[in-house]
Homo-oligomer: 168 residues x 2
């Protein structure tokens, strides 16, 4: 289930975000809105910009994979300023997630996960996934969506959920 959530689900959600960005970028062209203005928009002055929400969503997925597999995550210097650089960042993260095998997460559940700001405290891998990684990823993706949506772009929850793998 760790591999399914981190590799399949998180990749899918990031790619849905990428499609939302591409869809709104086209709409912005029609509306003669500079997409850079949107990338620097926020819901309120003391919250992160759309650009930063996307970067953090990428980092959340990357760090979840690396920490739960006990690997070192590649460092991203957050230098993206344009949509195409952000799209590349998302694609890079999805490729990175897909480099993980099911076996990479064999000890994920009981591993001890920590980070500097937790000052020596830790969560089990399971707690980290359920109470930190999953809610965090969707927080930043939904906030990115909300910034675009509240600017009047024609997107809906269908775009956020993406194509569901329906069977008949």
């Amino acid at each position: 289930m760790y591999h399914k959530i981190i590799v399949d689900e998180f990749s899918n959600s990031l790619l849905n975000l990428k499609k939302i960005l591409e869809k709104t970028a086209k709409q912005a062209e029609t509306k003669k809105v500079d997409f850079q203005v949107l990338l620097n928009s926020r819901l309120i002055a003391d919250q992160f910009t759309l650009l930063r929400q996307i970067q953090i969503a990428c980092d959340t997925a990357k760090l979840a994979a690396a920490r739960l597999a006990g690997k070192e995550a590649p460092v991203h210097d957050d230098k993206e300023t344009t949509l195409s650089e952000l799209n590349e960042r998302i694609d890079g993260i999805v490729s990175y997630l897909k480099s993980y095998s099911v076996a990479d997460f064999d000890s994920a559940k009981t591993s001890k996960i920590t980070q500097p700001r937790w000052e020596g405290k830790y969560l089990t891998g399971e707690e980290y996934l359920l109470y930190h990684a999953i809610p965090n990823l969707y927080f930043h993706i939904t906030t990115a969506y909300a910034i675009l949506r509240s600017n009047g772009f024609d997107i809906g929850k269908k775009d956020y959920l993406g194509e569901l793998p329906f069977k008949t």
Copy 2:
């Protein structure tokens, strides 16, 4: 893992939402803002109100549990209009989630999940959880948060994530 996600994680996230509502209600009092105004606020005119976001988050968790366990979900008539009624709704849903046992989800992974609007198509239980229930729950909780946050209330991601079960 199904029980952990649906019962433990979803309950925790809904209770964090409840705490956010209680915290902002206190701040609203200080600001002399009528909380009813907030409950009827939206990020943009053609999106649901805060009140509706909370109801849908509750329904998403309830339906995930029921569908994945092959049970009939209790019906809620969405008649809440006040914060205390919404808090009761959340508490009721958390109690409902906690009524499920691990064994209730024994066949969740491979069960066929459908709903009327899917016109006969279905997802496996696993697909439904990963691509529908989880992203949906956090979509509505984060949107509820965003409505309050964008109204200038003093809440942060710490409130959204809640108390993490740290160990030393």
